[in-house]
Amino acid sequence: MLNRSERIADILAGLLTALVLLVLYAPVFISAIFSVVQVNDGRIMWETFSLQNYVSMWSNPSVIDALRNTAIVAVSAVAIASLLAVLLALYAEWPGAIFRRGIEIAIYLPFLLPPIVTGLSLLVSSAQLGISRGLATIIIGHTVFVLAVAYRLVLTRLQSMPRALVEASYDLGASRLQTFRFITLPYLASAIVTGAVLALTLSFDETLISVFLAGDRMTLPLRLWAMMRVGFSPEINALVTLVLLVSLVLAALVAARLRIGNSNPE
């Protein structure tokens, strides 16, 4: 039973929610609309609809170059981070592990600290070691940033794994390597993939660490930032809409995977 004051609170909170969602989403939709039609004095000219901005964006070599760099960085960083996450989770659960707490802190720090700290600490140390900035340094930056997410998901899954599975495997004469290959790894697979998709989303958007490590190489967010400083163009609206679509697809993948993970814990 809802009484009156409760209903009023619900209505007010509901109105606030609707208003805030409008503020959060309206700019996004407006940019998407700007990318396909012209706007004069705040009025949308639907008859000017065209995909020209998308075509001219594809013929911009700096955008294509940034897109390729982003893909290289994201795939490399996610692959390294996923591999490391599995090794580190196995290590954390290994009885002989030493210095476990310190290593966990090191894993989580880049995710919790302001990105500016991670970015410039890697910048300073690569300068000290004489490593020039480029894709390799961006990959390192992204790897330490996304590792926390990948590690957390793999570790949670590993901790839920019944000991009996591993013991049964040993009893049946499997070696350590075989047990890992045929029992542990398949058990962890879904967590590794979810972590990888989440890490991919983070890497795709990462700006504040990359800016310190990029040198003269540009990832997509950095290119967008540079384009924004110059000014507005319908072409940027097209690129922005495309980036949003990619983020949406990745978000949908994560949502679907987490839902499967919840309903079917095996």
């Binding site: 009484n3 007010l12 909170a13 509901g14 606030l16 929610t17 805030v20 969602l21 503020v23 959060l24 989403y25 309206a26 700019p27 996004v28 407006i30 940019s31 706007v39 004069n40 705040g42 090794l87 580190l88 290994w94 002989g96 210095f99 310190g102 290593i103 090191a106 894993i107 720090l109 880049p110 919790l112 600290l113 302001p114 990105p115 500016i116 700290v117 991670t118 410039l120 000290q128 390192i140 790897t143 330490v144 070696s175 350590r176 989303t201 795709f204 958007d205 700006t207 504040l208 800016v211 967010p221 967008l224 924004m228 507005f232 922005v240 949003l244 983020s247 949406l248 994560v254 949502a255």
Partner: protein, 280 residues
């Protein structure tokens, strides 16, 4: 036992990487913060002049305090708006709840720079707001009222970080067992009393942790103040950033980053202490 050595070596390698890639670089810049510049060369030394400069020079120390104040305001706005929203979503059920949760979480997946761009394209000189106001005859010519001032920075940061505040509050609310709320109701408590004495206290540690993390996020931001604040949005992150760019004084920048690091670590420690006091 089978061969133990390969496993130990593999583990040693994996365990060392976070130390080499995270802790060692942080250590390196902490060391750099004690160095100094001579004829645009970084000279190894041990002196505290960088730190002394920071505290003596009001341009830097004042910016630091101003940034803390800005982040406190951003956090306050995010909590005041985020709490009722999280509460509203928490009280829905079924598909509506899942859908609303998805809508509030989705902005977390959207690119930070893209969100900034879209906000600028609404508030900017040629933005939709100005075009509409001019088109309606309310304004004679486009105004810079909505951009390049402190309010724009505050508002934009609040919009950017609000979803980061809503999610942790929702997650702590969701951990409250339904039977506690029902018991309170059965014992004759009014909805307000139930909220005041059951829901709010139980969710408080998680809420505080969420607020502190929002604060840290705002603290490290150096792009938003530049993009919507222009010359007025001079925050601590931008000051540090400029030492690694135009100003070119890496040791001084490192010293200020060390102060940022110390502040962030303090807040993170407070947040994890608060989260550990969660009794549900």
């Amino acid at each position: 036992m089978e061969r133990l050595l390969p496993r130990v070596l593999l583990f040693a390698l994996a365990a060392c990487l976070p130390l080499v890639l995270v802790l060692a670089p942080i250590g390196t810049f902490l060391v750099l913060s004690f160095f100094h510049m001579e004829n645009s060369q970084i000279v190894p030394s041990f002196w505290l002049a960088n730190y002394a400069n920071f505290f003596r020079n009001w341009t830097y120390f004042g910016t630091f305090l101003g940034t803390l104040w800005l982040c406190a305001q951003v956090t306050a706005i995010c909590m005041l708006l985020g709490y009722p929203i999280a509460w509203f979503v928490w009280r829905r059920s079924g598909a509506l709840r899942y859908f609303l949760l998805l809508l509030t979480v989705l902005p977390l997946f959207m690119s930070y720079i893209v969100k900034l761009y879209t906000i600028r394209s609404v508030l900017g000189l040629n933005g939709l707001l100005n075009q509409a106001l001019v088109g309606l005859g309310i304004l004679g010519k486009p105004s810079l009222l909505f951009m390049f001032n402190q309010h724009a920075v505050l508002g934009t940061m609040a919009v950017l970080y609000l979803p980061f505040a809503i999610l942790p509050i929702f997650l702590t609310l969701e951990r409250i067992p339904a039977n506690l709320v029902e018991a309170s109701r059965d014992l004759g408590a009014s909805p307000w009393s139930t909220f005041r004495y059951v829901v709010f206290p139980l969710a408080l540690p998680g809420t505080i942790a969420g607020a502190l993390f929002t604060f840290v996020l705002a603290l490290g931001d150096f792009v938003t103040p530049q993009m919507v604040g222009g010359t007025t949005g001079f925050t601590f992150g931008r000051v540090i950033w400029s030492q690694f760019g135009l100003a070119y004084n890496w040791p001084f920048g490192a010293a200020m980053a060390a102060i940022l690091l110390a502040t962030a670590l303090l807040i993170i420690a407070l947040a994890s202490y608060s989260a550990s006091r969660q009794r549900i």
